[in-house]
Homo-oligomer: 226 residues x 2
């Protein structure tokens, strides 16, 4: 809103408009199904604007993710740093909340904000090209490692492997929840169209209990065929 930068004022507008339009369409129809013509039309821009500002469609995809990813990961990082990992009490709940809340809270942001991005994050690992996937992993891994370290401290009875799996169950449940939200509402006949806050509480309860479960017994030492 503030007119701090006087030069290059208009080109920023279409750049951001393209990012917003792409984000919205990606979250609704997927990346491949969103053509540059749909995106530029929604943004009120010319078809060639994408290549002028981003070089290619893949450059646009990369920009859509990197615009939101850094702030998201930063917020997760700072929330985790504020957690009290010494007490046994609700430390796990705090860590889960630090991981999940930044994404889920973005679901209620004003349209044109990060609202669509949350939905997009769930399907992030299946659709994009190999190069974009590599960028995503590179961007997400540092924060994920921090969270794994915190959970390792709080759950010393788990093996590294089982801890990793449980973290993945957490991430999967979260991703599936934010990306399939509308479909879930339909599937459950509108019983589950809770707001982000309520959803977040349910999610933290469930995942905290799952993480706290005793270690899985089983044929551990001798490994298994597959």
């Amino acid at each position: 809103m503030t007119e701090t930068e006087t030069r290059t004022e208009h080109h920023v507008d279409t750049r951001e408009a393209l990012l917003d339009a792409a984000e919205k369409l990606f979250s609704e129809h997927g990346i491949q199904a969103s053509s540059l013509r749909m995106i530029t039309q929604q943004a009120g821009a010319n078809l060639a604007a994408v290549h002028y500002h981003f070089g290619s469609k893949e450059g646009l995809v990369r920009a859509v993710f990197s615009r939101r990813l850094r702030p998201l990961e930063d917020e997760r990082f700072h929330l985790l740093a504020a957690c009290d990992l010494s007490g046994e009490g609700l430390a796990i709940e705090q860590v889960i909340d630090a991981f999940v809340a930044p994404l889920i809270r973005r679901m209620r942001e004003t349209p044109g904000g990060a609202q669509e991005f949350a939905q997009l994050m769930g399907r992030v690992f299946t659709e994009p090209s190999e190069e974009v996937r590599a960028m995503l992993i590179q961007e997400l891994k540092p924060t994920a490692d921090r969270f794994l370290g915190a959970l390792r401290q709080l759950l010393p009875h788990l093996s590294d492997k089982e801890l990793m799996w449980r973290f993945h169950f957490l991430a999967g449940g979260m991703g599936h929840t934010v990306s399939c939200r509308k479909m879930l509402a339909r599937f459950s006949e509108e019983l589950c169209d809770s707001g982000p806050d309520e959803m977040l509480r349910y999610l933290v309860t469930f995942m905290a209990s799952g993480l706290r479960a005793p270690a899985t017994a089983g044929p551990d030492p001798q490994g298994e065929p597959a």
Copy 2:
């Protein structure tokens, strides 16, 4: 293998070959990214064979899912029916296993079997067209309702809404696990490339504990803004 049906022997071959090839490519690159030319080439069939046997690409997609979905849902149903819902002991673990195991066990089937299908199931709700999605919901809902009924019986302390959410967390964790398995292995630096059996045990432990968590306290009665 048995030559029970003598007539229409060869056409079944290309039909199945098309389904196998489509299933494999869908699971690797997604549905939209798998062109009919790639599919027919992989199947050793002519391009026009798809339209002859399935009418359109969407018909092929529908056939790919409906071929595996019914047996999968039947197996889930029968495993659930064999659960002992009276005892409090490991009933929840049994129910979770009945829901999850049929999908995960298909991951180790012989190539050309349902192996690729398990991977495909995870991304099922994001990519397909609205019509295919409707078919999927219609196919999956009866079994899901059965499982919800069983869980309702075992977890009487939960509201319908929270029970539904927890079931969705379970489904999401399962789907994400089977569909992103290879990427998870890379993300965890090969720590999490467990076989299906080990993965299944970890998953059941985690989800059973999550389902058993006490009901979430919070501002329930007055509802919330969103």
